[in-house]
Amino acid sequence: MNSKLTDRFSTVMLTTALFIVAFMYLFPILWLLLSSLKPGSELFSYPLTILPETPTVDGYAYSWSTMQFIKYFINTLIVAVITTLLTVIASATCGFALAKYNYKWLNVFLICMLATTMLPTEVIMTPTFSVILELGLYDSLSGLIIPSINTATGIFMFRQYFMTVPNDLLESARIDGAHEGKIFFQLMLPIAKPVVITLAIFSFQWRWNDYIWPLIVLSDPNKYTVQIALRSLIGADNIDWVLLLSSSIISLVPMIIIFIVFQRYIMDTGATSGLKG
């Protein structure tokens, strides 16, 4: 009885504590959202009010007409979708080869891929820029897409997964006369669906929020991705907060939609949680 009472007491206390902390985590974004609904005159008027006194979506209309969001969204979407598609295919095939074939040179390649996690893009950004220039990829969306396809994280995710698939399954398909390509696309890739989905979500998030590559590769504002477009607002001498606040919120919308649609998969990624790509 006594212990039951303490149990209930600690449940109430801990749950309260949990939601206080949760509210603190949510508050900055909530504050941004509420602020974006205030008219410009109210943004800097003291005393501050939590809720907008005269809520308005003028900020959004202003930001939508000033910033060419459709253009930025399309650019970012092209980059994110194409890169994700290619990343999944390249990582799956490569992970499969590393898991299921036994050649020395494959092990050497595995070590090379490990090395890419040791030497992050940030460290070789200046020489990589020279390579981008030489290949004529400067100021083009393909300059964002092509180098981003290679991710060690994706390859390792597939490798680990395919290692758990019994070899007998492959052997019996081989006996039935299927060639390796067919085995991969008709047998292995469908089994690896959970990894495909997880990596696709990760990759989309990486590319949607990517900053360093677009910053280096792009110069034409017509090719800006969402993050670079936002950056151009922050870099201004006098920040137009009305514009920046509503633009920031608009930039989150696609990720929120992805989250709502794939919530189940995103929240269950405990097994594959790990590195950045």
Binding site: L18, V21, W31, T93, Y101, L114, V226, L230, G270
Partner: protein
């Protein structure tokens, strides 16, 4: 048969192999070479180790580097404690409404580093920010969050912890859930307090996961760039300029490519050491879990 497999294995890795050579191996070699030259984007003149010698006498490099270390040193425990705390709360049998809370704590993962910067800049505005307003409401003086280097540094740390929780939470929660319940039940019989259970059961059980989280955090904090750029733009002055921003500025704004490459190589060596530690422990972690 065996030979066709070899051909297929090669086809399967071909795309990644080419990308690896073109966008990783080649730039890495080029980077080593550039670091030994004076290169402004047009002509590279070989100057040996001069860049490195200059770097170590360059007070702004030195400051950026030591600031990055300090940031990592304070930031890692900050990120670790906050994410572990949240994860423990989210897996405790004593909390209700976990699914709702999980979504809330997960939210920062959706927010790009640029927007994280905007968010905290807005919260901590000196004359119009919410935080200073609250401080004034309770009778305090407004704090110069962006014009005083130490305070700006603190805001960067808050933003780091906020932005880093979701990712670490995913890693921690997997480990916390897999701790056998029987361990806690045995402790209950012995009358252990919640804190004792955390110290003697939870922490030791997630030791290898903790290593992973800490090392990944070291890695990410050492490379911090986008979030800080939109939060403080490295300022006031250069008080929150970290090493990657330093490399970016010297390489792309001042076009001192050789010099920036040398700085990159120094960063690389540091990250390499952490990576080697990480791989050593990551392997150990997999064995005992």
């Amino acid at each position: 048969m065996k030979d066709t497999n070899k051909k297929w294995a090669f086809i399967f890795i071909a795309a990644n192999l080419v990308l690896f050579l073109v966008f990783f191996a080649w730039p890495a070699i080029l980077g080593v070479y550039y670091s030994l030259t004076e290169y402004n984007g047009n002509v590279a003149t070989f100057i040996g180790l001069e860049n490195y010698i200059n770097l170590f006498q360059d007070s702004s490099f030195y400051k950026a580097m030591s600031r990055t270390f300090l940031y990592t040193l304070i930031g890692v425990p900050f990120v670790y404690v906050t994410s572990l705390f949240v994860s423990v709360m989210l897996t405790s049998k004593h909390t209700k409404g976990k699914n709702v809370a999980k979504v809330i704590f997960f939210f920062p993962w959706l927010v790009s580093p640029i927007v994280v910067g905007v968010l905290w800049r807005w919260m901590f505005g000196e004359s119009f920010g919410f935080v200073n307003y609250m401080i004034q409401l309770i009778g305090g003086d407004p704090i110069p969050w962006s014009s005083n280097g130490n305070f700006a540094f603190l805001v960067v740390l808050f933003a780091t912890a906020w932005g880093g929780t979701a990712f670490n939470m995913l890693i921690f929660m997997g480990a916390l859930i897999s701790i056998p319940k029987s361990l806690y039940e045995a402790a209950d019989v012995d009358g252990g307090s919640g804190w004792q259970k955390f110290l003697h059961i939870t922490l030791p059980s997630i030791r290898s996961t903790s290593f992973l989280v800490i090392l990944l955090a070291v890695f990410n904090l050492m490379k911090e760039f986008p979030m800080v750029q939109s939060l403080t733009n490295g300022g006031p002055g250069t008080d929150t300029t970290f090493i990657v921003q330093y490399i970016y500025e010297t390489g792309f704004d001042q076009m001192k490519v050789g010099y920036a490459s040398a700085a990159s190589m120094v960063l690389f060596v540091i990250l390499l050491v952490f990576s080697l530690i990480q791989f050593k422990f990551a392997k150990g972690g997999r064995v005992d879990e």
